[in-house]
Symmetry: C2
Subunit: 661 residues, 2 copies
Amino acid sequence: MTDINKLSINTIRTLAADVVLPWVVLQWPIFYFQNLLPVTRQIHTGQINRDRFVLSNGHACALQYIMLHLTGYDVTIDDLKQTPGHPEAHLTPGVEVTTGPLGQGFANAVGLAISREHLAAVFNKPGFDLFSNYTYVITGDGCLQEGVASEAASLAGHLQLGNLIVLYDDNHISIDGNTELSFTEDVLKRFEAYGWHTQEITDGNNDLNGITTAVENAKKVTDKPSIIKIRTIIGIGSKNQGTEKVHGSPLNPDDIANIKTAFGFDSSKYFYIPDEVRQYWRSFSERGQKAENDWNDLLKSYKEKYPEEGADLTRRLSNKLPDNLAAVLPRYTPSDSALATRKLSEAVLNKIADIVPELIGGSADLTESNLTRWKTAVDFQHPSTNIGNYKGRYIRYGVREHAMAAAMNGIAAYGGLIPFGGTFLNFITYAWGAVRLSALTGFRVIYVMTHDSIGLGEDGPTHQPIETLAALRALPNILVLRPADGNETSGAYLAALKNPLRPSVLALTRQNLPQLQNSSVEKTLQGGYVLEEVDNADITLVGTGSEVSLAVDAAKLLKSEGIKPRVVSLPSFELFEEQSLEYRSSVFPDGVPIVSVEAMSTYGWDAYSHAHVGMRMFGASGPYKEVLKKYGFTPENVASKARETIAFYKDKSVPSVIFRP
Amino acid sequence: MTDINKLSINTIRTLAADVVLPWVVLQWPIFYFQNLLPVTRQIHTGQINRDRFVLSNGHACALQYIMLHLTGYDVTIDDLKQTPGHPEAHLTPGVEVTTGPLGQGFANAVGLAISREHLAAVFNKPGFDLFSNYTYVITGDGCLQEGVASEAASLAGHLQLGNLIVLYDDNHISIDGNTELSFTEDVLKRFEAYGWHTQEITDGNNDLNGITTAVENAKKVTDKPSIIKIRTIIGIGSKNQGTEKVHGSPLNPDDIANIKTAFGFDSSKYFYIPDEVRQYWRSFSERGQKAENDWNDLLKSYKEKYPEEGADLTRRLSNKLPDNLAAVLPRYTPSDSALATRKLSEAVLNKIADIVPELIGGSADLTESNLTRWKTAVDFQHPSTNIGNYKGRYIRYGVREHAMAAAMNGIAAYGGLIPFGGTFLNFITYAWGAVRLSALTGFRVIYVMTHDSIGLGEDGPTHQPIETLAALRALPNILVLRPADGNETSGAYLAALKNPLRPSVLALTRQNLPQLQNSSVEKTLQGGYVLEEVDNADITLVGTGSEVSLAVDAAKLLKSEGIKPRVVSLPSFELFEEQSLEYRSSVFPDGVPIVSVEAMSTYGWDAYSHAHVGMRMFGASGPYKEVLKKYGFTPENVASKARETIAFYKDKSVPSVIFRP
């Protein structure tokens, strides 16, 4: 260990003691590995080939923010005094992914590593290693206990992601106490079983040369991800070092003073950084700036030699979609065949996969059900497997919904790619921890969720979503799109692609649906629109997805009785809420009572309707038509609910769903 | 292999081909192991010491239902023709747990195995092995890829659950195709790393003696769970055997006929069971009946020798709570200290843990935050660890939220125990796959979820629930309880305990709350009640949990201006909805506009209010008072919203939230 590294470590240890939550950083000497990286931590995150760093044990946030400060990112000493609880990628430049919920960062890193391998395979040319970065992760015991990390580790081993290097802080302490309470497995043996390269450092508090060597070794292993287990003492220097007391609560002032003295610092100084440490760390920024300049020069020459690829890459990096996207989307008229929206989704993918080469998709082992694989797709696999290659854009995620979603967040975070992935709508909740972070961070991830209601039939109530759309609609910053036919399915994809700062969920049917009169790709972007209008209407029927055609059929019944129904399709609450008051009140005019129909929980539908046909219980196993009938999703029952509602409001004023306090 | 076993196997294979979903069973010869079990598959599920069988790969449902038929459960041939998509414990006797969502059954089995070890430790006496059963699981590649199963496997290894025996059907096929596409890890090595005993059968299609021996070996290993990897060919006998074609879609009639002929059966007969097979299997029922009689006799003698333990066990098995439960619950008056509801929850646990010995609790490594460990608690640990024993009732689940919830389902399924477990409310979504099955199956599982809003402060938006309560309220058959103070916290526990057929979620604060005037244990059981009444009210303020005292403070402000506010506490939508129309309309009388206040998504609140103070976005990191203020959770802002709402309805009729079409 050189003196300046030792001084840097001790500076970080004492700085950490000063941060609002001083308990988080002291455990870490491994920050040291950061100065081993060739192209890490650019001041400008714009250089896509920068090394990626993920602090998966996000509660050690202070470590990352202190390092961002030292390396010249826009994190001031004053910012350090208000370090957030966990790293926030949506707020702080230099934080690649938002972490904290345990296991997420680890799984994000698998996505970052996939992106790097894929883009290298697509764009690198002899003499032009445009994509050559490494993906570094610091993780702790907590992350490694989480299922999402296990799933991601198995996937990373299968995909042989050589650029992924994980440093495992094995400090034997979690919040409850020593890991002997609950976590006694042989972690490295488990990772060997996944196909990882493993190494161990027994004295992580002091053996910095060992860490250096291990990282260099890991880089040499190009066909396996690496994990380095580093035995450390949590809270080193504190009188409570090595116990959970330094994990769960702040240190007291005396202890902080002792730590500073022990490390040779002035205990009366706060947020003190020795000049030589500042200077030393500035050299990393300079190295980073040089790496960025070199890469930009490389890209320039690349564009000259490979103008087509260069233009594609430039377009992708600027987040611009191909101009002809809307034009190629499939469009339908009522004379076209009835089809399931999952099938219509497949048609969209077949149309756009080649013209949007940044799309990289997959499924959690439900390819034939989700219909997520387009005709010309090649699997993303290690070339040695002979069943695909790294240029391939179809990812076999296996039965790993949570890792799929978290990896997609990582893919989106890397840049230059738009990930989508499929499973049954009901199983998006298996992945919720990651879906929530797609929304919080604002990643353009497209969830292609099929079998979207009790209309899936035979699989039964374990597979039939009930609460799922309510949960998604209550989640901020995510688009929920439930298209009713072919035009709306094309519109849903257009909405998802055109929103670079939020994820989208496409809820798609297993069962066939007719192509509707008056449905529209463009109107879908407004979230809701009138499908059938009538003067002096008695009732508005509003539906989503498969229940829009049901509403149309119910309207026919009502018309035959002389009742005047309007029909509204509402594929997305979120997009609709963004429309003007004027527009919204034209869709739901005052004075006309509204009945909603959606084969899902009615919870939340009071926002747009006065009465509901929906689910208040779990579904059942059976042929889908019988199941739908059992729960009242028939034209007759919807018409009946409409008549009741009209009668109820006969002598009463109808509350407006648009004009509210 | 004896001839009758071979004939039984072929009978099941051909029966399976006749079941509505004929693709599921053919892969299985391992059903054979079932006749190795000493006390399995009682006709009467009432005998608690029966061996447990869990079909974790629930899509192979037909296998289980055919075996239930053969062993004399109430599953007829006609029922077989309508076999559900996945095993449904809530509908079919003999199905221990509802499976299908992959990985759940495996993790349920860990809970079943915990219950068996715990109850044996508590009740067994020399000569009285009341609890001695084994827990058998069949699992497939899909389950073993799921994070929840990984978490559960690590936990089971740590807890050294020797009664757990897993048969892993290694058929190399998942829905997407060969497992080489996505699942190439060394599964047995991984389980060795978890601390499991592992064995392998290379020809599972034929080597039934090998399976017998392996199961016997597994039973001899008493301090480790066991997994037996059994290499099989999926769809054996079909022309598509060994491919995903027999996994994802039904066989055609010709192929079914071929299979029957190949196995020596008449291809023109459907649902045919040879008499000798029927007779042979009947002997298992008889053996089961004898085992049950023997156990009942044993229990009778036990009660004579150990009357106290015997009475406790009898009470537990009849699902009766101790009589004095309500009497011992803590009760508060406004002069008592302000406390966080998590702290009040701890007080309840300290009061009831000893008088409700069937309570078995834990936390996903957040014990000091959730406050789930009562003073006299002993850890549930293998006795060799010297940090607890199997009599212990506090489970250190580790950072494994999903496995915790799924294991709790298994604990509840076993009988004689009431599991509870803690994490932050936000992370109940990590466990959603299992929470959903608690609700669907109707297990009394108590989720003790603390840090229940942006009021948790410093941990920031990654840990602050927004959508969570909406998701839970939209889920059928689960109680969501958000108590506002000490009395309501006691009431919430009472509600949870008194509902044997549904799970409950307790949403508890990190921050202190005052003890309210007029709050009540008993009124909490009504879900909602009037806290402050006034004649000719101008406005009703309704809140839950931490926002009830905020509503009270806002009401004070309004009163000081001459406005007449009512205040309602609504700890549980579900319980409130079960009250009479008369009662509900007394809580929310017509003509009085309502403002809700809840530091959570407003989605769904239109059901009980006209205007909302709530969250439409993610929260932020910071001290909790600042965070709450930032998002408008102040008496001033609530009062302001109330004034706006009163003004809005000045010349309009106020829509009733109770009387609706």
